[in-house]
Amino acid sequence: MKPELKFIFAGSILLILVHALLNVTQTATFLGLSAIAGLIPIPARKWWHLPAIACLACLITLALRPADQLVLDTLGSIIPINSAGVLAMSVFITVITISLIAETTNAWFGGLTQKLFRF
């Protein structure tokens, strides 16, 4: 496995674990964790690495705690988009949010982490 893929998996699991351990309930905590994601040192960073971490984190979260189909259907009919649309929108918004905050954090502070971990 390529080193960046290892980091993507490790990053996703770290994000999930931090979510679970901190019992993330508040938006502010979520945003804080997204910033932490930006500090994960990835060798040979590419633009898609952080979205990939975010995407994987979302999918693992949903796999661990699947959304209630009735809730999805109902939300889909109220909003109105279909239930798959609700799920897709949810993943999309979460991924973009994590990625943007993480990339911004990385842009400002990522160098520090890389120096710290000597990458």
Binding site: Q26, D68, V71, L75, V86, I93, T104, A107
Partner: protein
């Protein structure tokens, strides 16, 4: 550097987009980001993740297969805490809405569309009044007050332990957090029910109707003191207002033309049933008590079933979520049920204004108090309103008139003491004593105890008036302030000779020369039918009583059959109705035609009386007049012939049904025509089931009423008072849970439609295997 700044700007813009409270939609960040989104909402077992300690003692909430909580606690306070927690788990959004309605705070979460509703409530200043009432209650009944505080603590503990993402979906869609409750919430709930049951704009429509008529005798003809076939609840009583009122208590009413007034079609009104049968009329020799309250069949329903065991003493029945008390139910010794007294307890006044703040009463100037209110509106600037308050009540624009409203809802009341007393009462007499504390909104209570006694008691504030006081009053004299009087024990009947008692929102007394208590008593059909069935049977069983709950015989058929036989010339119409028995079963096609006929006939008659009549006479008054006359006068005194109207109603009914369902009249099934619409309380169609075929109509014991048939028996109880205790059967509309994705959201609907019940189990302990789930709220000590 440019990349850093650009990224920061894009991220900032994205977050602003996600978390800005755009008007009309929930914040996308909250609704869709996975950690906080509605995707995490669970079902019925979605109890808070951590259960709070019960500071009042260890208590257990055990849920049966229908989601009914059975609460076992060592003290009343510990039980109250657990009840609060259980109600929050099942009915959080419902309590939130009721509280916000009375406080006039709906706009804060629902936006401008709720502003008019908020303005209606704000003028009464219940937030201020409740503080005064609470202080008084705390002094007068400190133990009851402590129990209510414990209830609120349990409810609030649930909120504190429930993360936002797991709150009911309504909070996600409207994007707000639930409010805590306090002992004042009880007052708000009582006012909410008082609005439903005892706030009545009929005086406004009555004055507008008077303005159209040249003669008082015509008004008296179409709007008599009581209907033609009243079966009074207390036939032996004469309720004499002269004994209760000063002779100077007479104000003038006004004939006031009003614009934009929606006609009040009284024949659409709702009502409830209750009755109690003495052991001498039942097959097993023991009393049977029945109750069904007609309310909006919303999702979730009004009623919340619960079983409470404190120190091996139990009570069981139906509560209104947001309060720890059983409103209709039973304990080991006593059962009780209620219907609305249906009195006119709202007065409107036109004041003699001289300038913005001065008005004249009995020739003297009075200065109106004023207060300013700021109403928060979601997504908009707050709305600021300055109110004026007179001795006749707050002033508001109502149908284009600036009127003062005097409403019984602003009077203090302490129903908690009455319900606490009922829960502990061991006899009918003790229950009647407890009901002296029941003040608002006035109700007819039926009672039965295991010693074999039965009783009917009407309790609450009454406002006896002379008949001419119907209508908007002239606020130029203090004599127009008709006092509200607590009835205490003036209207009650115990163990009557006939062996049964009942109420169906009918007149308590039939005394045309005595007090006017109300105009909107229910038409007599249901009370006559209940009376008829109970009189005819001296070996009554539980099955007979269940059949009476399910009864769909419309007594209008008796009234109108002679008219149809005498006047209708359309052979097809007459052939179809041949052999009709008046029953409104789902499969009956004759019922559909008869219903069309009577509705159309009433509309034609009203149109002849006046094309824009603000208040419709009762249908039974009109049909009775049709039976006795060949012609009737319109409001100008000109006569119109009735026979052509009968035939027009028959012909147009046939034409309508042929067009709607085709020429084969066997296809005109009542169930196809009559479908009830049961809406979610926030009017979210996706959370409401599709329309349901329902039997009966507005005039049958198994009632279905309201515009779009949105109302019906929101619950049914059938209780036998055996020597060893109560044996009860209950059903509610919808289900116990207010969570739309819970299996208990809609699981009683099928039984309710078929008038089936569930047998109430009365476990005294937490038995193995009976309960589906148990939650123990441990003591911190």
């Amino acid at each position: 550097m440019i990349k850093k700044i650009l990224l920061t700007l894009i991220t900032g813009a994205w977050l602003w987009l996600l978390f800005y409270p755009w008007s009309g939609i929930p914040r996308l960040g909250k609704l869709f980001i996975i950690t906080t989104s509605a995707l995490k909402i669970g079902g019925v077992d979605d109890y808070a993740e951590t259960w709070p300690k019960n500071p009042f003692g260890e208590s257990t909430i055990a849920y049966d297969s229908l989601g009914v909580p059975h609460i076992f606690a060592p003290t009343e306070e510990a039980a109250a805490f657990a009840i609060g927690w259980a109600q929050a788990n099942d009915r959080l959004f419902q309590v939130e809405m009721m509280q916000r309605t009375v406080l006039g705070k709906l706009s804060e979460v629902a936006g401008e569309r709720a502003l008019n509703r908020d303005l209606f409530w704000r003028k009464f200043r219940f937030e201020k009044l409740a503080t005064e009432w609470e202080n008084q209650f705390k002094l007068e009944a400190p133990i009851t007050y402590q129990q209510f505080e414990a209830f609120c603590a349990g409810y609030n503990a649930y909120i504190a332990n429930m993360p936002f993402e797991k709150l009911p979906i309504e909070f996600h869609l409207l994007d707000f957090k639930p409010s805590k409750i306090s002992p004042q919430t009880m007052y708000f709930l009582v006012r909410y029910m008082a609005y439903t049951l005892a706030h009545d704009p009929v005086d406004i429509a009555f004055s507008a109707t008077k303005a159209l008529s040249a003669s008082d005798s015509l008004i008296q003809l179409y709007f008599p003191h009581s209907g033609p076939s009243v079966v009074p609840l207390f036939p032996e009583k004469e309720f004499d207002f002269k004994a209760l009122l000063s002779p100077t208590n007479f104000g003038n009413t006004l004939s006031t033309p009003l614009s934009n007034l929606e006609p009040i079609q009284d024949y659409k009104q709702l009502g409830s049933n209750n009755w109690v049968v003495h052991g001498k009329k039942t097959k097993n020799g023991y009393p049977i008590l029945c109750n069904d309250t007609h309310l909006e069949i919303a999702y979730p329903g009004t009623w919340y079933e619960m079983h409470i065991v404190v120190n091996n003493t139990y009570r069981h029945g139906l509560a209104i979520a947001g309060s720890p008390y059983i409103v209709s139910g039973f304990n080991k010794h006593l059962s009780w049920g209620m219907t609305n007294a249906t009195w006119d307890l709202t007065d409107y006044y036109v004041l003699d204004w001289k300038d913005n703040n001065t008005y004249f009463v009995d020739g003297k100037p009075l200065v109106a108090a004023s207060f300013t209110d700021t109403i928060a509106i979601k997504g908009q600037k707050p709305y600021v309103k300055t109110w004026q308050e007179s001795i006749f009540g707050p002033l508001d624009s109502i149908n284009g008139q600036y009127l003062a409203t005097r409403w019984v809802g602003v009077l203090p009341s302490f129903e908690a003491k009455a319900f606490e007393g009922l829960a502990k009462a061991q006899s009918v007499q003790e229950a009647q004593k407890a009901l002296e504390h029941f003040w608002l909104p006035a109700q007819n209570f039926v009672l039965a105890d295991i010693k074999g006694n039965i009783a009917l008691t009407t309790a609450g504030y009454a406002q006896p008036k002379p008949l001419f006081a119907r209508g908007i009053k002239n606020g130029n004299t203090q004599n127009a302030l008709y006092p509200y009087i607590l009835l205490q024990s003036q209207l009650q009947s115990n163990n009557p000779e006939k062996g049964f008692l009942f109420s169906a929102n009918a007149n308590q007394v039939d005394a045309p020369n005595s007090a006017y208590l109300g105009y909107r008593f229910a038409p007599s059909h249901r009370s006559r039918r209940i009376n008829q069935v109970l009189l005819a049977n001296n070996q009554i069983t539980e099955l007979d009583m269940a059949r009476l709950h399910a009864d769909v015989l419309d007594l209008d058929w008796e009234n109108l059959k002679p008219i149809i036989e005498k006047h209708i010339q359309n052979p097809k119409f007459n052939t179809i109705l041949q052999g009709f028995d008046g029953n409104f079963n789902l499969e009956n096609h004759q019922a559909t035609l008869f219903y069309q006929f009577k509705e159309r006939l009433l509309a034609l008659l009203i149109k002849e009386i006046h094309p824009a009549l603000p208040l419709w006479p009762l249908d039974e008054v009109m049909y009775d007049l049709c039976k006795k006359n060949d012609s009737l006068p319109n409001l100008k005194g000109n006569l119109f012939a009735l026979s052509p109207l009968f035939n027009q109603a028959a012909d147009s009914s046939l034409a309508f049904l042929e067009q709607k369902f085709g020429p084969n009249h066997k296809q005109w099934l009542w169930g196809k025509y009559h479908q009830s619409k049961f809406m979610h309380i926030a009017q979210i169609p996706q959370l409401s089931p599709p329309p349901i075929q329902t039997p009966g109509n507005q005039r049958t014991v198994n009632v279905s009423s309201g515009k779009d048939n949105t109302h019906g028996p929101a619950m049914r109880t059938l209780i036998s008072m055996l020597p060893q205790g109560a044996q009860a059967q209950i059903v509610i509309t919808g289900g116990q849970s207010g969570r739309f994705n819970s299996p208990n959201y809609n699981n009683q609907m099928k039984d309710w439609l078929q008038v089936q019940y569930h047998q109430v189990q009365l476990p005294q302990n937490i038995e193995e295997g009976y309960f589906k789930k148990q939650i123990t709220l441990t003591s911190p000590h």
